[in-house]
Symmetry: C2
Subunit: 169 residues, 2 copies
Amino acid sequence: MAMVPEGDDRERLVCTDCGYVRYDNPKIIVGAVCTWQDRYLLVRRAIPPREGLWCLPSGFMELGESTEAGAAREVWEEARAHVDLTDLLALYNLSHISQVHLIYRGHLTSPACAPGPESHEVALLTWDALPWDRLAYPNVAWALRQHRAMQGRTNFAPLGVPDDAPPLP
Amino acid sequence: MAMVPEGDDRERLVCTDCGYVRYDNPKIIVGAVCTWQDRYLLVRRAIPPREGLWCLPSGFMELGESTEAGAAREVWEEARAHVDLTDLLALYNLSHISQVHLIYRGHLTSPACAPGPESHEVALLTWDALPWDRLAYPNVAWALRQHRAMQGRTNFAPLGVPDDAPPLP
């Protein structure tokens, strides 16, 4: 049942038989803006939500992995590509859905890529060919624009939700 | 029971009655190195684990808050102090315990502080007075040393686990 455990200050799910407390905490999404020369790696989602729209390779971080390992795993799972991550591009707090997005930046080790089981299609696109009107989420556009803004710069603080982003629901 | 849900590639806890899948993912620890002039804010833990040892204000990020809000909340809960966070000092992957630590840097808005319910004691200590041999966790020392190394610098990539840290278990 939902109750405030002793010494706590908010409701948790507690088993009244054994006292087990189920803590629900925010989840981490790991992903990457990956480039090959002047091209950006995007995947077209084959699963809901937003099936058919374009996304950066990204997904829920799993137990036992680092944030970088998780981002590289997602690149492999969704785009069958290998990436050398160089740095943390962005940290987005999406607190209305209790998610923290950690988006890395990296170079593909080769242009080889192919759709994984959760992707209809994978593409390496120049800036001018990016499908701005068919992106799955606003944060895909944030990360792509911030990646472009940070070209040639290193050792910077990760960027956040852009000031001009519409208010979150 | 533990099984691999359809379309997934690893075991999850699944309810065989209703199909509910319980996803366990890494947890985020938020905390802060807070200073007042040349002094560092530490709290002495009043709860296990490591009761009696010194720590930075930090704890599990909660649903519905941002990483910065969570770090500031922990400073209030454990040290009854108000902090203006300035930037993200460090991101530590502790993948052996599936934790990601996000440690911010900030200035206290006044030297007022007091132990919260989970602290025996709170202190504002100069660098030379820091209790290096009574710190609760290695990452407390990492963050303090990295804070000192980054004094006067802004807009840098968050630091990670130091290269000279002993291997994690």
